[in-house]
Amino acid sequence: MITRAGALHALESVTDPELPVLTIADLGILRDVRIDGDAVVVTITPTYSGCPAMAEIRSDVVAALTRAGAAAVTVDTALAPAWTTDWMSQQARDKLRAYGISPPTAGPSGPVDIPLSAVLGSLGARGRAAVGCPQCGSPDTEELSRFGSTSCKSLWRCRSCREPFDLFKDH
């Protein structure tokens, strides 16, 4: 028999395989945990539609809860509400920076209307918060590529210390 608190504690060991410093709770992938008789029912949500880590996360959830004594585990995947970087905790952002990845700059996300003209208009304007270098802290940085090593990151370079770094994209 496992309690909800016990299940939540066990799930603190489940991290994103592509970002091992962050738990699925840190990232906002873990949406709900409830106890249903002998079973634990966990709801997770993908970051991106094509996130290749979801299958591994699902099996890690089952393994962690089984180790903690759950008799049965059900993992549901919910697409709505759509995942947003707004759900990342401050603790998660601090961990990312310490790991060498600049955290999201907040910015527009969530279920808001951004018409096509505004999407295209905002790209040249760069009206968003400055991206700080996670190595030296300098705000003097530039984007090299909007698509980085994984779906959730873009590639940047610091003009002060000359080091390249990843930015966790606003989403």
Partner: protein, 261 residues
């Protein structure tokens, strides 16, 4: 027994299945085309970018095909639909299957398609069908990145060297005749629009056109003349480029049915 459709009534499952299949085939086929750039793009960053876009599109395709297959009776899985249908059973718009050509044509197609996807998914987020709305809620965020990438390159090529400009203009003219199909009315979409389950293509088209014309002006590229050509992708009529693409996409799965790794 008669059955009346009113605005607040849930849309018919068969219509949602057909609609999701068309949109799912669009992104599946386009992802396959983009994946042909693996290790062949002009620079490593673009290899990574094009494959990231392809990965997003494959994810959207999995969601849409699972929805379509789940609403059929008897149901089919995403793999049944992706790998065990023949050419005439695919419902993608023809623009998705066209040969990617050079980088200019690939970017021109990606821009025109992503600029359509943004208002399409945006409108579909308000669908009365909760599954369509959920899939669109994720896809719209991804499409905003895709259109930004394609716009960046289209402007860079168009407003670049004489050679890059020539290729961007030629690529644009190659794919332009196929954009009309994206806004073509059909009975299934019309019923879904009436049920509040899908955005009206006639509302999306002017939004798309205004954005496209603004970016083409920025890229110093000319808007090609409107050419009417035969359509039919949504009815299973495809161009000669489609067969070889499908053969490559389905070959492994058909040679080793049920294989996984």
């Amino acid at each position: 027994m008669t059955r009346q459709t009113s605005r607040n009534e849930a849309p018919a499952g068969a219509d949602v299945a057909t609609y999701a299949l068309g949109l799912g085939d669009d992104v599946l086929v386009l992802a396959q085309r983009l994946s042909e750039w693996t290790a062949r793009a002009p620079q490593l960053e673009d290899d990574v970018a094009l494959l990231n876009i392809a990965l997003d599109l494959v994810g959207q395709a999995r969601n849409l095909l699972s929805l379509a297959g789940g609403r059929e009776n008897p149901g089919r899985t995403e793999d049944d639909l992706a790998f065990w249908r023949d050419e005439t059973e695919f419902r993608n718009a023809q623009i998705m299957e066209l040969d990617g050509g050079d980088f200019g044509r690939t970017i021109a197609r990606q821009f025109l398609v992503s600029a359509w996807h943004v208002p399409l998914w945006d409108g579909l987020r308000a669908s009365t069908d909760p599954d369509l709305a959920a899939i669109a809620g994720k896809a719209v965020k991804e499409a905003r990145y895709h259109v930004g990438y394609a716009r960046h390159w289209l402007v860079r090529l168009g407003d670049g060297t004489p050679e890059s400009r020539r290729r961007a203009q030629a690529g644009l003219e190659d794919v332009w005749p196929y954009v009309g199909e994206l806004f073509e009315p059909d009975p299934v979409t019309e019923r879904l629009v009436t049920a509040g389950a899908a955005p009206d293509p006639a509302v999306i088209e002017p939004v798309w056109r205004e954005a496209v014309e603004a970016v083409l002006a920025e890229a110093t590229l000319a808007v090609p003349p409107t050419v009417r050509r035969p359509t039919g992708g949504r009815r299973g009529v495809h161009t000669s480029a489609f067969g070889p693409l499908l053969a490559q996409m389905q070959h492994l799965h058909r040679s080793h049915p049920g294989a996984s790794w």
